[in-house]
């Protein structure tokens, strides 16, 4: 009886660890991303993201940005960014709490390629 339990637990653990192999969303190192200015104060702020594909600005992409905190428990904001041309995309985010924030960018290129990148975390203080 007990051995069956033990085996079951062991088996499920092995199974689970196998599943773990491909659990993080893909990133495409080809795309270069940077914020024109890193937000640092509380309140609603407009952020501008510059995306380059190698040396050419990436236009005509659908860019969605998710703002969340590095700690659990704060609802995240997901907004569609507005294309400004010349590889620039803009959105307004409400930084409603002090602390460490992080932005996750989802890009869908014109050819349908999809990628996700988490930008370096920064402090709102």
């Amino acid at each position: 009886m007990l051995f069956r339990y033990g085996q079951l637990i062991l088996l499920s653990l092995m199974f689970l660890s196998l599943l773990g192999c491909s659990r993080t969303p893909s990133d495409d190192p080809r795309l270069l991303m940077s914020l024109e200015q890193t937000p640092n104060a509380m309140g609603i702020q407009t952020i501008v993201l510059v995306i380059n594909d190698g040396s050419t600005p990436l236009d005509n992409a659908k860019v969605q940005i998710e703002a969340t905190m590095t700690h659990a428990g704060m609802p995240s904001q997901i907004v569609q960014m507005q294309a400004l041309g010349a590889g620039k995309y803009q959105a307004s985010i409400d930084f409603s709490m002090l602390g460490e924030w992080v932005l996750i960018v989802n890009v869908t290129e014109a050819n349908g390629a999809v990628m996700q990148r988490t930008l370096p975390a920064f402090n709102i203080q």
Partner: protein
């Protein structure tokens, strides 16, 4: 205390199986065990961003909120359904532990130390922000419970080690439900005492609480063992006045008098002052304080800065407040015990304000973050090939309007302070007949100071970052 007809949860329709069915606890543990396994897997292999990982979201947002809610509305339900006890109980079926827990460890010193260690690790490793560390924490609990309880007889892990269990047991002093004898007369004629020694395969109380002499919820994991062991069906989950046991001066079975135990006193101190410290760790002024410390000592080591804060909050502040109150009390009342002995007598009086602070704090995160489980759930389901894309992932509002949180928190602190005032007053009047009101005043001032700091802490803006990046 039994003038009103006692409410017994085990007599309610739908809950009877808990008392009758031997595998009731096992059935309660299974879902939590499955959840724990899921969190461990996700924590170790999933996204290492806290809001995206079920380990961090469930443990630090939901679990802590539910824990306090359950404790205040019913009792120590987490220990009742504790997943850590499941592998341990299974192992006990083949491994009969050979050793006796050493006498010098039969107290709460170790547990108090571990509780401090846990609070320290929580800040130092930013557990709230780390799925990986959260998973490791869960695994450590399983491993420690299994290891200790397969080597030592009884339930030493729950009684002397588990910091979480101590937290639950201390909080359950304010629970409205306790495991207690239905008809005391029945126990007087009982020859077998199965509730403590066990019968057949059913163990008796492994935490060494003997029902006829058990007082209150301290050290009780609500494991149901005694209920299943009693051949006369004489133990129930009975309603009582919350906090009543803090006024009792009777010796407690398996514990003795908490009013005379320095180890218990320290545990309660860590719990109560830890509540303030834990909240201090997440508000804005803590970073100004760190900066100030850095300029004072020219040391930037996070471990050092944290240690300074911990020593201030868990040693200096309580020693000054409690030592001062005890000294004044002695001067005023002419009571002639040592200061430590006086502090031990009064310490339980501060539990309610500690419990109130933990509740106020965790309720905040629970209310703000309740729905943040949806995006995590949705992506877990998507991974399993189940499409739940109708589930909202953004624009998630708090569980109740945010404006209601602060008044609720203030209410909790006030309630806790009143209870603390009542209990310290009762202690004063039982140990001195001299100038009781004046003698009580220093303790009342400590309560006011603590309630004041609690309210100030709760009114500060939250600031959630690790101090490394600060």
């Amino acid at each position: 205390m039994q003038q009103i007809p006692a409410i017994d949860l085990l007599k309610l329709p739908g809950l009877r199986w808990l008392g009758r069915w031997r595998y009731a606890r096992f059935a309660l543990q299974l879902p939590l065990f499955a959840l724990a396994m899921l969190m461990v897997w996700d924590g170790l292999t999933g996204a290492q961003l806290a809001p995206k990982n079920s380990a961090t979201v469930i443990v630090w947002v939901h679990y802590r909120g539910f824990l306090m809610l359950a404790l205040l509305v019913v009792g120590n339900l987490f220990c009742m359904a504790c997943p850590f006890m499941l592998p341990r109980n299974l192992a006990r079926r083949i491994i009969k532990p050979r050793f006796k827990w050493p006498t010098w460890l039969r107290n709460k010193w170790l547990a108090a130390g571990l509780l401090v260690l846990f609070f320290f690790a929580y800040e130092r490793f930013d557990l709230w922000a780390s799925p990986w560390w959260t998973a490791i924490l869960i695994v450590s609990y399983f491993a420690a419970a299994l290891l200790i309880d397969s080597s030592f007889q009884g339930a030493p892990f729950c009684k002397y080690v588990c910091p979480l269990g101590q937290f639950n047991m201390l909080s359950s002093t304010l629970s409205p439900i306790e495991v207690a004898v239905r008809q005391p007369q029945r126990c007087q004629t009982c020859a077998t005492k199965d509730c403590i020694v066990g019968r057949d395969d059913q163990p008796g109380c492994e935490l060494w609480l003997f029902q006829p002499k058990k007082v209150g919820n301290l050290d009780c994991t609500m494991c149901l063992d005694c209920i299943h062991a009693c051949p006369h069906d004489n133990i129930g989950l009975l309603a009582r006045v919350p906090g009543q046991e803090l006024i009792s001066l009777q010796p407690r079975s398996g514990i003795g008098k908490i009013e005379e135990r320095s180890d218990f006193s320290l545990l309660m101190l860590v719990f109560t002052w830890g509540a303030l410290l834990n909240a201090f760790g997440m508000i804005s002024p803590v970073y100004s304080f760190y900066n100030w410390l850095t300029t004072q000592f020219a040391i930037t080591s996070e471990t050092f800065l944290l240690s300074v804060v911990f020593i201030l909050a868990l040693v200096i502040e309580p020693v000054v407040l409690l030592g001062g109150a005890a000294w004044l009390f002695r001067r005023i009342s002419g009571h002639n015990e040592r200061l430590i002995a006086i502090i031990n007598r009064f310490m339980k009086g501060f539990l309610p304000i500690g419990i109130a602070m933990w509740t106020a704090h965790y309720a905040f995160h629970f209310i703000i973050g309740f729905w943040t489980i949806l995006p995590v759930l949705r992506s877990l389901l998507a991974e399993a090939g189940i499409n739940f894309s109708w589930m909202p992932v953004t624009g998630l509002s708090p569980l109740v309007p945010q404006a209601m949180i602060y008044p609720f928190q203030m209410g909790m602190i006030l309630l806790g302070s009143v209870l603390s005032a009542v209990i310290t007053w009762q202690t004063t009047t039982t140990i001195t007949k001299q100038r009781q009101r004046w003698a009580w005043l220093p303790w009342a001032l400590v309560i006011v100071a603590m309630a004041g700091s609690a309210m100030w802490l709760l009114s500060q803006p939250m600031d959630m970052r690790g101090i490394l990046e600060g």
